[in-house]
């Protein structure tokens, strides 16, 4: 197909990559395999008619998102996936614009701010669809919306990252509250809740645990404020800052590439972000969207996520040896309601405290 280079070489590369990390020699399934369920076959036939899918996602970094898109195209030939990766608030804003304009470009929306979905469901802008795979994911990811309008398709943790060349493991902070200590002045790197759903959820959690004074004191330490939470990885890599409140997946993936980074899991708990996906009402390719939703909750998708240090959705897919997963550490999580109400509030408070 023109415009999309799914060559044999890439399939081999993909397979080799997975094998290289010792995840398991599960060969990639192809559409012709008899293992496709009846529902899957039905969806695939309808989706193939539609021919393409547009996916707005904030769940991963660009490369992971692209990998997921490509794997889907290989598993279900004939459906082109347009992957648009942005931060959560930017994605949501674009979707709002499309709703207002009455011209939906997006088919499947995956943001990291669960509050978006509460809002969308409330305004009857989501389509109900319960994937078969909904029952096959890990328990902690089930049943966020019993009515079936949105489902968790990815998760990640926010913990404290640090640059190993500038800081010895013994000197690193142990808990969130250590960050407000004066010795971390000019040394901290953060994202911005006005852009990133991860950061928004983290801020809500910190506020819940320690009150807003935590941030007043943190402001005195002059942290570097970026936009996405992945910005923190860059800042640490560059040596511009030394510690971060950063995403575990991206930080560890960067470390694996040879960068001097390591992760500390705070004693009060790493913040667990559950990120849902939902199909908007009135989209152009509803069947493709449904099929993709199934795919995101499938074992193949989890393998790719784990391959890139993300959390697995499925019990049968285990993390790489030596990699810390959510079930191995203490995690804390605000409720959906707290997120829904809290994120707009903390964005305002953040602006007042930090000036931007």
């Amino acid at each position: 197909m023109i415009g999309h280079f799914a060559s044999r070489r890439d399939i081999l590369k993909g397979g080799a990559g997975i094998a290289a990390l010792g995840i398991g020699a599960l060969a990639p399934r192809s559409a012709s395999a008899a293992e496709m369920t009846a529902r899957e076959k039905e969806l695939y036939a309808a989706a193939k008619q539609e021919g393409s899918l547009t996916w707005y996602t904030a769940h991963y970094d660009d490369q992971t998102a692209q990998s997921l898109g490509r794997m889907f195209e290989q598993l279900y030939p004939g459906i082109k996936v347009s992957v648009v990766r942005t931060t959560a608030q930017v994605a949501f804003q674009r979707v709002s614009q499309e709703i207002k304009a009455g011209a939906m470009q997006v088919d499947l929306l995956s943001t990291t701010d669960i509050g978006h979905y509460v809002y969308l469901k409330d305004k009857a802008l989501l389509e109900k669809y319960v994937p078969d795979n909904a029952g096959r994911v890990l328990e902690i990811y089930k049943n966020y919306d019993p009515d079936g309008f949105y489902f968790v398709t990815s998760a990640g943790m926010v913990a404290m990252g640090y640059n190993t060349t500038k800081l010895a493991a013994t000197d690193a902070p142990k808990n969130w509250t250590d960050l407000i200590d004066a010795r971390w002045k000019d040394k901290v790197s953060l994202g911005h809740p006005g852009f990133s759903g991860y950061v928004g959820t983290w801020v809500v959690t910190m506020r819940k645990l320690y009150g807003w004074q935590f941030f007043d004191k943190l402001a005195a330490n002059n942290p570097q404020i970026g936009r996405s939470i992945v910005d923190t990885v860059t800042m640490l890599n560059a040596g511009e800052r030394v510690v971060s409140a950063g995403p575990v997946a991206a930080t560890m993936e960067s470390a694996q590439r040879g960068n001097p980074l390591a992760m500390i899991y705070p004693t009060d708990g790493a913040v667990l972000i559950v990120a849902p996906s939902g199909i908007m009402k009135g989209v152009k390719h509803p069947n493709a969207a449904r099929l993709f939703m199934e795919y995101l909750m499938s074992a193949e998708a989890s393998k790719i996520q784990v391959d890139r240090f993300g959390e697995t959705m499925r019990p049968e897919v285990s993390p790489a040896p030596g990699v810390v997963a959510a079930k191995d550490v203490k995690t804390i999580r605000p409720t959906v309601d707290e997120i829904f109400k809290g994120i707009p509030e903390v964005i305002k408070q953040w602006r007042d405290t930090f000036g931007v």
Partner: protein
């Protein structure tokens, strides 16, 4: 040859349809259509914005609340002040960079002119946000290369350059804006014949005195034009401030407006907030007219000019040194850093053989589905924009210059008006006016090209008007009296004479269009993404390696197209060595 008065057929071959039609110029209909297009492009979005600023969000009722909200907050007011500070600083610095270099290249015997020109061009095609990233890599307070060098050399605890500051932002923006000043001043200086300077020299004035008292005053309109454009660019910029001002913890108007467009979108408040910028720009425009006045600047009347260079002696090395310094700031330093990142596995690890890789490029070109489409889109849209903008601007400039309709100055104002509106707000205006039904242009290439055309109309118009002004009206009158209509005059005389200038103007629109971010960010849909938006999205997650590679691709293709363009323009056919 006999003196017989056998009348030749009337040119045009048309019979007189009736006295009234005969008395009308046939091209009048065309002018009216063009004026209607101008109104559609410029007036409609502007009016939508102005009207929205007085409307309540859901109900549309008249209210002042938006203004109260927008200006009642001290932080938001501060943003306005910051923008003005940024604009003034950039204009000043761009002038300091651009004018001496333009003078040196146009009128002196400074060596290595070709190289300096190339560097200036490099600065011109570099998107400001790409330059900002380069400067972040260079002058981040702890990690920037320059600071690391300083710390290594002096043993200091921390660096001396902090790019995350207002001065830092000013420098970053000025080094990508000064090419505008350079282009204007250089072309104007090229038209000044050496006789002007000879006259001063004979009377006893030395080089410097002549330059400041005679040469530069002759090109004051060009200098002012360039400074004003730099100022207006700076206050409307979004990308570079988003990257630098935010970590520096201050807002400018454009980044503040960006906030108004976070969810929930507050178009009305944004409209109210963009008013000071509107007013400032109107003032700038008025100021420029007042300074230039009604003096005609017809410098080309069918005779070529002659230019000789000024010998600077030993000073030419000093001049080259200064030019080199500016080029280093603008191009050499940031590009080096970005190149390193483009070929690095992890740029933070610095230059080392095991850090080299081509992976970033292969990822972009072969694996990242968006990148290919974005690359094609960028150049196609920019090309279309350049043709549309130049075509429209030239036609309007013609109508204004020849005073074909009453109130032609209003047309000139409309052409320049898009300057007034920050690109973001212009995009919002377009979005509000044309995205929803009945036109339903949301997510299409059309809305992007229309918005771009409107955005770059001022540049196209300024260049076209300047070009037209420099051609005496008699050239065209000679065509008309011989039987050709205005359109024939444009086709056979004006356009060829303007060829070089038009080609230059085309590039002057095309190149900024390729790097345009501020207006694109709201108008792109998933299928109409352009490189600038992609770069911005990539910068959000700090993926500097891939970002640098994409930036490199953008620059390489733009340079290639521009190089081809310069070859096509050809030699200067008007000045031939003869007498």
């Amino acid at each position: 040859m006999s003196g017989g008065l056998d009348t030749l057929a009337q040119p045009g071959g048309r019979g007189m349809l009736g006295r009234r039609f005969a008395f009308l110029e046939p091209s009048m209909a065309l002018w009216l259509v063009l004026i209607a297009v101008l109104v559609f492009l410029v007036a409609s979005p502007v009016v939508r914005i102005l009207v929205s600023s007085f409307q309540e969000p859901e109900t549309g009722r008249f209210t002042f609340a938006n203004y109260a909200e927008a200006y009642g907050n001290w932080r938001q007011l501060r943003a306005v002040v910051n923008s003005i500070e940024l604009g003034l600083g950039v204009a000043l610095l761009a002038g300091l960079f651009g004018v001496p270099i333009a003078w040196a290249i146009s009128r002196t015997d400074m060596p290595a002119k070709g190289f300096v020109r190339l560097m200036v061009f490099g600065a011109f095609i570099t998107p400001p946000y790409l330059g900002a990233i380069g400067w972040i890599l260079l002058a981040g307070p702890n990690s920037g290369w320059l600071n690391k060098l300083w710390m290594a050399a002096t043993g200091a605890g921390h660096g001396i350059f902090n790019v995350y500051s207002m001065p830092g932002l000013i420098v970053v923006v000025a080094v990508t804006s000064f090419p505008y000043v350079f282009v204007f001043v250089n072309s104007a200086l090229d038209l000044v014949s050496s006789e002007m300077e000879d006259a001063a020299n004979i009377l006893g004035a030395g080089t410097l005195r002549t330059t400041f008292r005679v040469t530069l005053p002759l090109v004051v309109p060009a200098i002012i034009g360039g400074l004003i454009i730099s100022f207006l660019e700076a206050i409307a910029l979004f990308g570079a401030p988003a990257l630098i001002a935010l970590p520096a913890r201050f807002h400018v108007v454009s980044t503040q407006l960006w906030q108004f467009f976070e969810y929930p979108v507050r178009v009305e408040e944004a409209a109210a907030f963009s008013l000071p910028l509107l007013i400032i720009t109107v003032l700038m425009f008025w100021l420029q007219r007042a300074i230039i006045g009604r003096r005609g600047y017809a410098a080309v009347t069918g005779k070529g000019g002659e230019r000789r260079t000024i010998r600077l002696g030993a000073w030419r090395w000093a001049m080259l040194g200064y030019a080199f310094f500016v080029c280093a700031l603008a191009v050499i330093l940031p590009m080096t850093v970005l190149l390193q990142a483009a070929f690095a596995k992890a740029w933070g690890r610095g230059l080392s053989l095991d850090n080299l890789t081509l992976r970033n490029f292969t990822y972009l070109l072969f694996e990242q589905t968006q990148a290919q489409q974005a690359i094609v889109n960028t150049f196609v849209y920019s090309g279309a924009t350049a043709f549309a903008a130049i075509g429209l601007a030239l036609a309007i400039a013609y109508v204004v210059n020849r005073r074909l309709v009453p109130f032609s100055n209003l047309l000139a104002f409309l052409c320049m008006a898009p300057f007034v509106i920050p690109a973001i707000v212009l995009a919002i205006g377009f979005y509000a006016a044309y995205a929803p039904p009945p036109l339903a242009l949301y997510g299409t290439a059309a809305i992007l090209i229309l918005a771009y055309t409107t955005r770059f109309l001022p540049i196209a118009y300024t260049a076209s008007a300047a070009g037209l002004r420099s051609i005496s009206a008699e050239m065209e009158e000679a065509v008309r009296i011989l039987g050709g209509g205005r359109l024939v005059a444009i086709r056979k005389v004006l356009a060829p004479l303007l060829k070089k200038s038009l080609a230059g103007s085309w590039l002057l629109v095309f190149i900024p269009a390729t790097r345009e971010l501020s207006s694109a960010i709201f108008l792109v849909g998933p299928n109409t993404r352009v490189i600038s938006v992609m770069l911005f999205d990539l910068s959000e997650e700090g993926n500097f390696e891939v970002l640098s590679a994409l930036g490199a691709i953008l620059l390489i293709i733009t340079v290639t197209i521009a190089a081809i363009g310069f070859r096509v323009i050809g030699r200067d056919f008007m000045v031939r060595s003869a007498r």
